[in-house]
Every structure is written in structure tokens, then in C-alpha cells.
């Protein structure tokens, strides 16, 4: 009976798998009334799945529910929709704004839960013909905003607000709910200035004092250390450690986050490879890729190297490859083999001998409703006029299906793509084979430099090592320089010669694969100062 008093939320042995892929394993989490929990973990550690289970996200139930029990406020609960969760007193501030840009702050705070005034027509046409009680709305909105101690105009339209204020509006919405007992804040400070972030921290403490529990997710370790009562570190779907800010330090947290054991057989050829010539030089690159902003990044890649780019999701690591390849608006200077490339022009980049295996396989990487041989040969046909026959003295470039099929068969054999034949539609292949298809597409261009983004995302373990082997093979056999972007640190350390960690759109540091895991963790958590940077394999240039 004691536990009922003590804990507001108790998650008991919660497990969840998506089609056999275990993402949460026996998670036990308790939150006391008025306690602030900091949730830390890499991507795919299970943070968002855990929160989705708590919040009753329909996707959880559509994929078979979860195992284990959740007790909230003394009762066992199993929410099937976020609205149930909200009714029970769980509030959530999402990473992406759930705000209507053309509405005022007040209107947004009361989205679909506006106080209403009775109107007789509602008897005939239903409740929705009651009038909004604007006065009451304004009163309550102001009250909620006062709690935040920022000067927020309740009549200001969201699209005229500075970004930080949008976040405050969102938090005000949760504050206004009188019955909110626990509040989940998912990266609330990501878009804020430092002073604004301080306000958020203050509000969290204030709420805690009032008896509202908070689960605070952030990749800024300092913030977590500053304002949480307890830090929960998730890794690979299970709770790695619970720490108390007063008794820990950032190195420890980082270590638990990325795991302390050394990766076995880190490199088959143990010796440090040496590279001479610079093939790619990036100078002050800005890329405007939604959710993966790159802010003024500079780095160099040597010819023949495998260069890794890591970091947490949303920090900008994916933006680098996309920006250089011209898929998202970019500014800055990129030199390939000493010559500047024109940005925002995919054709130019491809023609110079770079290729890209996109992380967005089904969206950008493939023509899902076209046969395999089209998928593999199309880019090469565009860029190099391969697989075409000139008719009428070159006026007509006839597509040479036979040549296309021939090449395709070669790649199917080389990369062991499992398919019925080369005319099968790309849509029908498994994730791993689709990934090989994307790589074959890039190899068909015979590139000197290849960007590979998230090469193993969403494919099974067997295929994963195969994909990485292929990269190694092409790198050692053809000397193709590879820039590999991945969320999986282990995979980067297994494959790359050097690894850059991107945080908040900038390179936090470049480390060799042999560096201590905790150092990578610290870079990801915004603790650059505590890591001794390893600049290049060769030392400074």
C-alpha cells in the first residue's frame, strides 16, 4: 500500500517488439509525485517507444500492444488513445510543434478544449453549436503564461512568434490542464536560446514543487544534470542505470549511454591506415534540411578513407550528405578534388564522380513501381549516357534495355540481391535487398566518392553485416572514398577510419574508432569541452 502513496507512475516489466524486433526489454520505471526524471539515451534506445506506450499512441496497439503493466495514480492503466492518457492526467509536449500557425496563442492553448457558453441551438444541432467563451479563454491563457514568467501576448499569432515562444505556448497548454499529474517534455529546449532554456528549466522545477511529475528528455546533458532529480539512462531497449545528478558526472552518464565495452574486432586490419591526398574539403557549409539542419560545418576527407558521421537524430548529421548532393538548399563552399562544386545542383555533383545512397530509401532512393533494372541503371543513364544507343546520328538516344539488364544481373550476383529476376518491381523486395539495390545504383556510377546514409536502418542483422562488407569491399578494391552517416555508433566504429560527431548542426569533434565510447557519448551530449579532440589521422594539416 505504501507504493501507492509513493509512486505516481510505475512501469512494470514493460517490453515491446515491432514484428519481432525487440525495442524495449523489461523496463521498470517509477516516478514519484513531484519528481523530475531525466531520460537519456541514444537513438533507438527506446525513449520514444516508452513514451508512446505511456501516452497510448495508437501505433503501439496497431502493432500488437506491449507486455508488462503500467500503474498510474494507483490504478493499472492501458491507454488506447492519447486522449485517454490526457484525460487520466498525462501531458506531453512534443518535439514537433502541435500548433496552428494562423491562430493566436490563446486559441492554440485551448485547441479543441475551449471553454464554451451554452447556446439554445445546440439542443437542435448538437454541442458544437455552443459558443466559445473567449473571455474565459483569455483569462486562463494569461494565468498559464504567467507561470512561465515570459512576456507572452495571448493575442499574438503563432506564425508571428519567435520560435522559442511557440514552445512556451505549447508548454502553457499543458500547464492549463488542471488535472495534469505528469508532464513529458520531449526535447523542449532544442529550439530555444540559452536564456529561454533557462526559463524552461525554472518552470520544470516550479511544476515539480506544485506536485507535478516531469519526464524530461534532452540531449543536452548539462540541462539534465541541472534540473533533474534522477537520471534514467536507456540503452538498447533496457534501463542501463539510474543515476542521481549529485552523485554522478557527465562522463559516467555518457559511458552508460553508449556502453563501455570495446567493440570486438574493431577493424580486421588493425593498423591505422594512412591517407595522403584530400579529396573533399567542406568549408562553412549550411544546409537547410528540415529536422536535420547543418550550421556552418567544415571538415576534410582524404582519398580512400572511410569517414563516419555520427550523432543523435535531429542534430544535422543527415543534412551534410543531402546538402552536398544538392537535395536540400545549401550555402558554403565544397571542394571536390580541389575544385568547387556548384551546390543545389545534383547533376553537377553526380557528374564529378560523387554518388549518394540516401537514408530515405523508399522516398528518394528507389522507383518503387519500376523494375529492378531501371532502378540500378537509371542514374548512370542520366549522368553518363550509359545504356543508350544513338540512333539517327545521335539525335535520338534509345534506351538499351539489354545492356541495362546485363549490368543489373552483374550487380544482382555481386551484391547477392534476392529477387525473382531483374524485372521484379522494387516495391516487392525486402528492406535489405532494397538497400543493396540503392547501393548498386550508386556503384553503377563508378563513383570516386560515395555518401552512404543510414545503410543498415530497418534491415535485419544478417543483411546488416553484408551491407557493411560490401562497403569495405568497394573501398579496398576500387579505392572508393566513403562517407558514411549512421545513427549506430558501433557500426561506425566497426567500419570507419575516423568518426565525426555532429551536435546541434555542428561538428562536436572527430575521433578515431578506437577512442573511448564515453568520449563519443560526451560529444553527442554537448560536452565538447571534456573531450580531447583527435583532429585527423595524420594530425593537423
Amino acid at each position: 500500500m505504501e507504493s501507492k502513496e509513493k509512486y505516481l507512475l510505475k512501469m512494470d516489466n514493460v517490453s515491446k517488439d515491432f514484428y519481432g524486433n525487440q525495442v524495449l526489454k523489461n523496463v521498470n520505471l517509477t516516478v514519484k509525485i513531484g519528481e523530475v526524471i531525466g531520460l537519456v539515451g541514444e537513438n533507438g534506445a527506446g525513449k520514444s517507444t516508452l513514451m508512446n506506450i505511456l501516452f497510448g499512441n495508437p501505433a503501439i496497439h496497431e502493432t500488437g500492444g506491449f507486455e508488462g503493466k503500467i500503474f498510474f495514480d494507483g490504478k493499472e492503466v492501458n491507454f488506447t488513445s492519447p486522449f485517454d492518457a490526457i484525460d487520466a492526467g498525462i501531458g506531453m509536449v512534443h518535439q514537433e510543434f502541435v500548433l496552428i500557425p494562423g491562430f493566436t496563442a490563446t486559441e492554440n492553448i485551448f485547441l479543441n478544449r475551449e471553454p464554451i457558453k451554452y447556446n439554445f441551438l445546440s439542443e437542435v444541432f448538437g454541442n458544437r453549436l455552443n459558443l466559445l467563451d473567449r473571455k474565459e479563454m483569455k483569462k486562463r491563457a494569461i494565468k498559464a503564461m504567467q507561470m512561465l514568467e515570459v512576456e507572452l501576448d495571448s493575442n499574438m499569432l503563432v506564425n508571428e512568434m519567435p520560435v522559442g515562444y511557440r514552445q512556451f505556448t505549447e508548454i502553457s497548454r499543458e500547464i492549463d490542464r488542471k488535472y495534469t499529474k505528469i508532464l513529458v517534455l520531449d526535447e523542449p529546449t532544442a529550439v530555444l536560446t540559452e536564456t529561454e532554456a533557462d526559463i524552461v528549466k525554472k518552470v520544470i522545477r516550479k511544476l515539480a514543487k506544485k506536485g507535478v511529475s516531469v519526464i524530461f528528455i534532452s540531449h543536452r546533458l548539462q540541462e539534465i544534470l541541472d534540473c533533474c532529480d534522477r537520471i534514467v539512462v536507456l540503452r538498447d531497449g533496457s534501463i542501463q542505470k539510474e543515476l542521481f545528478p549529485s552523485k554522478t558526472n557527465s562522463v559516467e552518464v555518457a559511458e552508460y549511454m553508449v556502453g563501455s565495452e570495446l567493440v570486438k574486432n574493431i577493424r580486421k586490419s588493425k593498423e591505422k591506415r594512412k591517407f595522403e591526398e584530400t579529396i573533399l574539403k567542406v568549408n562553412d557549409l549550411w544546409v537547410d534540411m528540415p529536422g536535420e539542419q547543418v550550421n556552418k560545418i567544415s571538415f576534410e576527407v582524404k582519398k580512400g578513407e572511410i569517414f563516419g558521421i555520427g550523432g543523435l537524430t535531429g542534430q544535422g548529421k543527415l543534412g551534410i550528405a543531402n546538402g552536398i548532393m544538392g537535395l536540400y538548399p545549401a550555402e558554403g563552399e565544397v571542394k571536390f578534388k580541389g575544385k568547387s562544386i556548384s551546390l543545389n545542383n545534383p547533376k553537377d555533383v553526380l557528374e564529378r564522380g560523387m554518388a549518394f545512397v540516401s537514408e530515405d530509401r523508399r522516398g528518394l532512393g528507389l522507383l518503387l513501381d519500376q523494375p529492378i533494372f531501371w532502378n540500378i541503371a537509371f542514374t548512370a543513364m542520366q549522368i553518363k549516357d550509359d545504356f543508350t544507343k544513338s540512333l539517327l546520328g545521335g539525335i535520338i538516344k534509345w534506351r538499351d534495355d539489354k545492356a541495362m539488364i546485363k549490368v543489373t544481373r552483374e550487380y544482382i550476383d555481386a551484391l547477392k540481391i534476392k529477387c525473382v529476376n531483374e524485372k521484379q518491381f522494387a516495391r516487392e523486395l525486402s528492406g535489405g535487398n532494397q538497400q543493396k539495390l540503392c547501393m548498386a545504383k550508386a556503384f553503377a556510377l563508378k563513383p570516386e566518392l560515395m555518401f552512404v546514409s543510414e545503410p543498415t536502418r530497418g534491415i535485419d542483422i544478417g543483411a546488416k553485416s553484408l551491407v557493411l562488407d560490401i562497403l569495405h569491399y568497394y573501398n579496398s578494391k576500387y579505392g572508393t572514398t566513403i562517407i558514411m552517416t549512421s545513427s549506430e555508433l558501433e557500426e561506425l566504429r566497426l567500419t570507419c577510419d575516423r568518426i565525426a560527431i555532429v551536435d546541434e548542426g555542428q561538428i562536436a569533434g572527430i575521433l578515431p574508432p578506437t577512442a573511448k565510447p564515453a568520449e563519443f557519448g560526451l560529444l553527442m551530449l554537448g560536452k565538447k569541452s571534456e573531450v580531447e579532440e583527435v583532429l585527423t589521422g595524420e594530425g593537423k594539416d
Binding site: V98, L111, N112, N127
Partner: protein
């Protein structure tokens, strides 16, 4: 390749001109054509009063779907058909005067609700291309209407009045006289100023509708529609039944259009059974757009500016054409051209603007982030 300037924004004057380019162009055109036509002021005012009272209601019917983010409701043609079916019945039953007109409205309301519901479901299945679908739906329902009125009435649906039936014994005639209810609403409160009939009754009804729309915006349903109109996903995430809300907006619009068409026809006094509704959507939408509305934003103010400008052009252009090159035909083609052209232009402009604004918004956010970074990194000595 265009230079990507991440911080460029639009000049506010240029923006204003582009926002209101349609009304500005039409106003200039009208200003040029009025003196050319040589029409007397009195004739002009008389015509304009008639057209204002005749058309405003129909155009007002367009406002609510715009609010719900469904664009211009080309489906108001369905409402017009419902209204016409009501009028056919009261004419058949020989119900005259204001009671006849009200009865026609009463009968056609359930028909309009059903049609609106149907249209709403169809448009929900065509998200992102509501307008072209609504437009084609109007054409499609016109075929169904023909089957019902031309072959069903007098056959399956009892119609006994030989004055409106075709000589073959079933099917409604091409034109039927609405002499029994002609201008009953316009003349309900008779008032003449300087020989010009002021249709007080109709104007009062239009004013009531305006009040209704203003009031509606303040209801929970109105607020939900605005939410849905701004962002479907967020509306859904906050628990609003998006599909139902969209259907309701179309139902309301269809019912209003049905009344609008009845008001329109009581003023005219005759009904072209198979043509009266055909161009209802086009003219109403063109007028609204001329009033400065866009696919995403339309107000009562736009309605009246639009009616005045658009119909001034309608009155003036045949005469101006005649004066200009001696062919009245020219002016008539011209006003058809303007109606279609205005819609094409406004829709294209809006679609283009949508893209430009998205890009601007992106640049704004980008610029903001740069400043933010600069402030946070002052110690790093980064200079932009």
C-alpha cells in the same frame, strides 16, 4: 541554378499588389469601361441593386468551406439543383407568393442536405484536389439531375401540372415560369427610391445571413472548421473529427446555395430547368475572387466588393464592346473570358504563392536560427 539567398524576404508593397492583383486589375478595367459604355447613372445603379440582391446570397454560401480549408466549393451547383427541384414542386402544386417560396425552401432543404453530405464524402476522398473534384462532381450530378427531372418527373415522381410538363407527358419543360413567386421577396417590403426598386426583403435576408456567418465563426463548430482548415493533422491530433467537420461545412454550404438559388430565381421569375444551375458555381466563385478573396481566405467584405466589381463589369462590358469595335458579342465573350480568367489567374496565383511563402517561411526560420547560433556562440568567435 538560382542563387539560394537564405535570408531574402518579400517587399511589402509588392506583396500587397500581388495579394490584391485581381481586384486591382478588374477595378481598373471597370473604371476604363464605364465611361466607354455611356450607360446612365440611374440605369447603372438600378442594375447593380438588382444584381447585388440577386447574387450575394449564393456567393456568401461559398465562405464556410473556405474556412474549413476546402477551397472554393464548386459543389454549390448541387445546392442550386436542390433549390430548383423545390421550385418545380411548388410550381406544380400551384403554391404562390411568399408561402410558395418558403415552401420551396423547406422542401429542398432535405434534398440539399443529402446532396451536401454526398458531396462531402466524395471530397473527403479527394483531399488535396477538392476543387477539381467538386467541379467534376457538379457536372456528374447535372447528369443525374437530368435523368431525374427529364425522365423521372411525371413518370416515377408525380407531376400533374401540364404547364410545366413536356407535351410527351413526362419530363419538365426547358423553361418554366415562376410567375407565382416572382419577386415576392424583393417586394415584400416595397420601397422605391427615385424610381428604383429597393428589394428590402431580400437585402434583409442577406444581412441575416451575414450575421449568421459572423455568429457561426464564434461557435465551437466554427472554431473547429478554422482549425481543420489550417492543419488537418493537428486538428486530428487534438481530437477533432476532421472528416465529419469537413462534411458539415459542405452540407451548410450546399443548403445555403440552395436558398441562394431560390432567391436568385424568384428575382428572375423564370427558370431554365436544365441550365440555370450550370454556371452558378463559376460566376459565384469568380465574383468572390474578384472581391479579393483567395482559396484559403474569404470574408463577407470580399463578397460585397466582389459582387459590385464583377457585376459592374457584367453590365458594362457588352456596351463597351459595342462602342469599341461595334460588336456587342465581343463584350459578351469578354465577360465570359474574365469569369474563367479570373478563376484561372487566382487559383494559379494562390498555388504559386503557397510555394513561395513556404520558401519564405523556411528562409525566415533559417535566418532566425543563424542569429540564434551567433548569439550562443559569441565565445567561439564565429563571424557571419
Amino acid at each position: 541554378m538560382k542563387k539560394q539567398n537564405l535570408t531574402r524576404t518579400m517587399n511589402p508593397y509588392v506583396k500587397f499588389f500581388i495579394d490584391y492583383s485581381v481586384p486591382i486589375i478588374i477595378a481598373l478595367l471597370v473604371a476604363f469601361a464605364i465611361p466607354l459604355s455611356g450607360l446612365s447613372g440611374k440605369y447603372f445603379i438600378k442594375e447593380l441593386t438588382i444584381r447585388l440582391s440577386r447574387n450575394s446570397f449564393l456567393i456568401l454560401a461559398l465562405l464556410i468551406p473556405v474556412m474549413a480549408g476546402m477551397g472554393m466549393n464548386f459543389g454549390i451547383v448541387l445546392g442550386a439543383m436542390a433549390g430548383e427541384i423545390g421550385l418545380i414542386f411548388v410550381t406544380d402544386w400551384l403554391i404562390v407568393g411568399l408561402p410558395g417560396m418558403l415552401l420551396a425552401m423547406l422542401i429542398s432543404t432535405p434534398i440539399a442536405i443529402l446532396l451536401g453530405y454526398f458531396a462531402g464524402i466524395v471530397l473527403n476522398r479527394a483531399k488535396g484536389r477538392e476543387m477539381v473534384t467538386g467541379f467534376m462532381l457538379g457536372f456528374f450530378m447535372n447528369g443525374i439531375y437530368q435523368l431525374v427531372v427529364l425522365y423521372g418527373m411525371g413518370n416515377i415522381i408525380p407531376i400533374s401540372n401540364s404547364n410545366i410538363l413536356l407535351p410527351r407527358g413526362y419530363g419538365i419543360r426547358n423553361a418554366i415560369s415562376l410567375i407565382g413567386i416572382r419577386q415576392v421577396m424583393d417586394k415584400f417590403i416595397p420601397l422605391k427610391i427615385g424610381g428604383i426598386l429597393i428589394p428590402i426583403g431580400t437585402l434583409l435576408v442577406i444581412a441575416t445571413l451575414c450575421v449568421f456567418i459572423v455568429w457561426f465563426k464564434k461557435t465551437k463548430l466554427g472554431q473547429d472548421m478554422r482549425t481543420v482548415g489550417q492543419d488537418n493533422d493537428i486538428a486530428r491530433a487534438s481530437g477533432i473529427n476532421v472528416e465529419k467537420t469537413r462534411i458539415l461545412s459542405i452540407v451548410i454550404s450546399t443548403v445555403l446555395a440552395c436558398y441562394g438559388q431560390i432567391i436568385f430565381l424568384q428575382n428572375i421569375g423564370t427558370m431554365n430547368t436544365y441550365n440555370s444551375h450550370e454556371q452558378v458555381g463559376v460566376f459565384a466563385i469568380a465574383a468572390l475572387l474578384v472581391g479579393g478573396a483567395s482559396v484559403a481566405k474569404a470574408s463577407i467584405f470580399n463578397v460585397f466588393v466582389g459582387v459590385i466589381l464583377f457585376h459592374t463589369m457584367f453590365v458594362v462590358s457588352p456596351r463597351a464592346g459595342k462602342e469599341l469595335i461595334g460588336q456587342a458579342q465581343l463584350g459578351e465573350y469578354f465577360r465570359v473570358f474574365v469569369s474563367y480568367g479570373v478563376i484561372a489567374f487566382s487559383l494559379a496565383l494562390y498555388a504559386w504563392r503557397k510555394r513561395v511563402e513556404k520558401e519564405n517561411e523556411r528562409r525566415k526560420v533559417m535566418a532566425f536560427k543563424r542569429v540564434l547560433l551567433q548569439n550562443n556562440n559569441t565565445t567561439g568567435g564565429d563571424k557571419l
